[in-house]
Amino acid sequence: MNIIVVGLSHKTATVELREKVAFSPNLIEKPLRDLVALDDIVEGVIVSTCNRVEIYATTRDIAGGIARIKRFLADHHRISLETLEPHLYSHHSEAAIRHVFRVASSLDSMVVGEPQILGQIKTSYGYAAEYKSSGIILNRFLHKAFSVAKRVRTETRIASSAVSVAFAAVELAKKILGDLSDKTVMLIGAGEMCELAAKHFLNSGARGVMVTNRTFERAERLAADFGGEAVPFDELFQHLHRADIVLSSTGAPHCIIGPKDVEEVVKRRRFKPMFFIDIAVPRDIDTKVDDVENAYLFTVDDLQEIVQANLAQRNREAEKAEEIIDQEIGQFYKWLSSLEVTPTIVALRSRFDEIRRAELEKTMAGWKDLPPEAEKRLEALTMAITNKLLHAPTAALKRAGQGGRIDLYVDALRQLFDLQTGHQEDDELELEE
């Protein structure tokens, strides 16, 4: 049995095309049933996110299976195959396993290391399990992919650093102010990025928000959104000393906060440090503010630089993740190939023979002065019994080998008779989260 992957992602298709090919989670039952009803397709899982649409399936006929799934995607979404095909990629066998492990570990994501994709695959797999379109192989395959993703997340620092400007601002503030739980944010003006950053600060535990704006109504509205306090714009400097974190993005044509102001404010705060972020163009806060002791001013460019550095770090960590994936592919592939018929028959035979021999030796050892003739006959007798016993299951296996669901038999046999297989690692069969 072979695993195949067919799909498209942000790397191969525009968002318009991805939208057209997306599957709605509410209506996923029918496509899943249609998918496994295709000739030669045994099991199937459909993963559909805003960045990728992928189908994982098992088949005996790699080329045919891939072609049928491509056709299925085109037909289902009523797009001509000619338009769709150039954007589709397909993988089989080891490459397919690698692809899915990489996707689940967020190595193929637009932002490498972002954590959402794993949850999305888990949900997609949940549907496939619910509608029984996935079976022994894909079940095990996806659980393996989840455990690989978990290993990657815990053993590398791929997701440990901030890769958005707003998050970078929070991280930076923590490096100055330490714990944010007793810190107050002051929002000057109402840029989108400022609001986003303020939200991040609140989520990271900041105590409260003050909002000021040239139009007071606007400040009030925003303050209400945040559960904060609106401050009239001309009273800014009466309140600034209460802020530990200042986010500024007004449309003012010149600086509204200068080094002299900040010096006063910092003194009033008994030199407790202040963290400024200036998002406005032209600037709201004079760059000389950074020269004031215990005041730290950062611009969007500084934050962008942090984000770039963190992304570079993620890419370095991604190399470690690839090594982990390499190890895991080997293990999984061993299990997958153990599901083939011939090795199973061989293993089954040697298991029976092993038992036969052990029992025979036990009997002979306790049986003195046995004539050699009798010894030969006992040998022949036991062999005949095992052969007879094995005849029917062997024939059934060979017959099933020509049909579709061989893995069912093989897996059952291996478990019933405790045959050696390629998987020593523990089964993680429950879905986390």
């Binding site: 930076l172 100055i176 030199f271 550095a309």
Partner: protein
């Protein structure tokens, strides 16, 4: 026995210091754990060595420079281990353990002359004075390490240089907090040490204050730390100014300790 444990301590401190320095450049839980374990093992060995020496001499081993340096080093390590437990700041170890190691190496290089306890030291006030002084020194050594870290971290923030070391160092606020705590422990101890020293001086030479270099420099050290704490509590001095003052304080303290041994006693 003493020598065996002393050299074992040297080896363990050496390994721990190397591990703590490596922690600055590599992120590894394993490395962090072992740095701390090695240092704790060194500290125990150092403690045993000191106790053995003390039990042989019949008093605290503080009667010559070699013993004093070793004792100083022991207290720095013990104090750091306490702070590390409390604040989870591995990087502080990268700045403090080298100081302890250098002191111990100096101690091992010095000739440890066996000497009779001079009669002048046979006073409880002396031992009280010495013990308090050394504990306060250890606290100031921590404040010194933290101050150096503060200045480095502040430099990174002002220069907008966000490299690996920046990520490793704790936040300015944490550093400031540890600095304040260690000063708040060190300063009262130093004050009592100076007072008990004066009482002992009265017993020994008949005058509370004789203006010998050791006493003078101790007083200078005291004034620096007094100014630092006063500034902090009244005006709210913190950050760069406090860090620089804390570094100056420790340098003066080292001068007092290393340079001024020709005082009324030795």
């Amino acid at each position: 026995m003493t020598h065996l444990f002393f050299y074992l301590t040297l080896v363990l401190y050496g390994c721990a210091t190397t591990a703590y320095l490596a922690c600055l450049f590599r992120t590894s839980d394993w490395l962090t754990r072992w740095a701390s374990r090695l240092l704790a093992a060194g500290c125990i060995s150092h403690g045993l060595s000191t106790i053995h020496l003390a039990s042989q001499a019949g008093h605290l081993p503080l009667t010559n420079m070699q013993e004093s340096l070793s004792f100083f080093s022991l207290l720095i390590v013990a104090t750091f281990l306490l702070f590390e437990r409390r604040y989870k700041v591995t990087t502080l170890g990268s700045f403090v353990t080298p100081v302890a190691l250098v002191m111990l190496i100096l101690a091992s290089a010095l000739h440890g002359e066996v000497r009779q306890l001079p009669p002048i030291l046979q006073s409880n006030w002396f031992w009280f004075h010495a013990l308090l002084a050394f504990i306060s020194y250890a606290a100031f050594a921590i404040a010194f390490g933290v101050a150096v870290m503060y200045l480095i971290q502040r430099h990174f923030l002002k220069a907008k240089h966000f490299g690996g070391l920046f990520q490793k160092l704790p936040s300015l606020e944490t550093l400031d907090e540890i600095s304040y705590r260690s000063l708040a422990v060190g300063f009262p101890l130093l004050t009592f040490a100076i007072i008990s020293g004066a009482i002992w001086s009265e017993q020994a030479v008949g005058s509370y204050w004789v203006w010998d270099p050791k006493q003078t420099w101790s007083l200078i050290t005291w004034f620096i730390y007094a100014a630092l704490l006063h500034g902090r509590l009244t005006i709210g001095w913190r950050g760069k100014r406090a860090a620089i003052l804390s570094i100056i304080g420790f340098i003066v303290l080292l001068i007092t300790f290393l340079g001024m041994k020709h005082s009324i006693t030795w």
